[in-house]
Amino acid sequence: MQQQPSTHAPLLDLHQLRKSFGSHEVLKGVSLQVTAGEVIAIIGASGSGKSTSAALCESVGNVPDSGTLQFQGKAVDYHPRRLSWRRAAQLRNLRSQIGMVFQNYNLWPHKTVLENVIEAPLKVKHQPRAHALERGKELLASIGLADKQNSYPSRLSGGQQQRVAIVRALAMEPKLMLFDEVTSALDPELVGEVLDLMRALAERGMTMLVVTHEIGFARHVSTRTVFIDQGEIAEQGPSGQLLSAPANERTRQFLRRVLHNNTASSDLAL
């Protein structure tokens, strides 16, 4: 059933992904194609399954119960529960090409900022130490944190930690970046610096899948917005169109609730 790699294939192709936790079905068959260069915002209420969809792209922590996942035209051969050595190696290869940034930054507290950034290039890509260090310093300089390279993460603000987490993923030179509610844990005044960095990445052509509550970001930066409701994609389309004139009644209701609460803050951040 494996499809041949093709130049026309989308970068990432999710087909009918299903996932249950116990008796609770979180994803009821989600299909999504991501083309290189796209910036896709995934919006939806909490518990709608939007974060699970993002996590399943990397199969971190969980693998889908059913459905297929293709990356660069190649099917990812995971098997629910039991992973053989070969499948595990294939998954590691997939993960090394997809960067993921989490809500709680998840920097490693016992390593300095620079050590956080060079760990995976050294251990996974087996880059020479000098090269990894040089590249790591460049990346930190590019986000204005060159002076923090020898600090431990606990000495940084939440916004700085999250930007380091983004740079840590970028150090692997990923083909796709996943952002899972990366501003949700931040103090409001720190949200802007993280969104600015993400926007700069989008402008440089990075393919991005952004699970977010920031409707302003979806509107101004993403090319396409996907609304997930109750484990299904309820509506998707060009961001401007979907967010200003949603066709689906559930999308309208959701946007009315969210915009009522935070239009001001998220639009100001941009």
Partner: protein, 228 residues
């Protein structure tokens, strides 16, 4: 006046008499420390393997680990020592008292260390593991570079406690003819009939060794607390 100088003379004479036995005690302490050192290393190895196996998603690893911890924690250490030293020769395995003692104590303490390590693993937020996995790191890389360094820092106090227990438990090996501090003291008492004096000396020497051990652990804990 006369009385106090008489008393200090008597104390001096007593200490002089006691000091004659100090080289022997020092040697006995050294044996106890050697046993403790080897036992602690073995228990850490057993504990690490046991904890990783018990938290594994594979039943074939989990079940033996669960049995090991259940058995070792549920039976007296003294019986375990007897099984290894007196029992195994019956099966054709003759071990020296020292080696048998270290194996029995190490396996016994290892079960407790396994539970300590497991608690440490549970204390690390899931996100630490997931962020390493998301970058493509393997299980062993994630454990060695990301998780275990953090676990170590958390479990130092509990490990110290267990190491102190192990050091004290070396006295159990007096029952299988290892001439460590306790058996040395007993043989001395058999020759001198001074149980009060020499048991007090033994107790003070154990106290000295455990105190040094906990000082070292405190120093280590402080040295590694820099990033929080």
């Amino acid at each position: 006046m006369n009385e106090t100088s008489d008393l200090s003379e008597r104390i001096l004479a007593y200490l002089q008499w006691l000091s004659a036995y100090l080289p022997g005690f020092a040697h006995a302490c050294l044996i106890a420390l050697q046993i403790a050192f080897a036992t602690i290393l073995l228990s850490w190895l057993c504990g690490l393997v046991g904890a990783l196996a018990k938290t594994s998603s594979y039943r074939l690893l989990r079940w033996p680990a669960e049995f090991y911890i259940w058995f070792m924690r549920g039976t007296p250490t003294l019986i375990q020592i007897f099984i290894v030293y007196f029992g195994l020769p019956q099966m054709g395995m003759r071990l020296s008292p020292f080696v048998a003692g270290v194996i029995a104590l190490g396996l016994s303490s290892g079960a407790y260390v396994a539970e300590i390590v497991r608690a440490g693993l549970k204390a690390i937020p899931r996100g630490q593991f997931e962020s390493a996995q998301a970058l493509g790191m393997s299980y062993s890389q994630t454990m060695r570079d990301i998780i275990l360094p953090q676990v170590t820092r958390i479990i130092v106090p509990a490990l110290t406690n267990e190491a102190i227990n192990t050091l004290k438990n070396t006295s159990l090996l007096s029952t299988i003819t290892v001439v460590e501090l306790t058996l040395y003291t007993q043989t001395l008492i058999a020759a001198t009939f001074k149980p009060f004096d020499f048991y007090i000396v033994a107790a003070l020497l154990y106290l000295l060794m455990t105190t040094l051990l906990s000082w070292f652990a405190n120093w280590f804990e402080k040295r590694n607390a820099f990033y929080h």
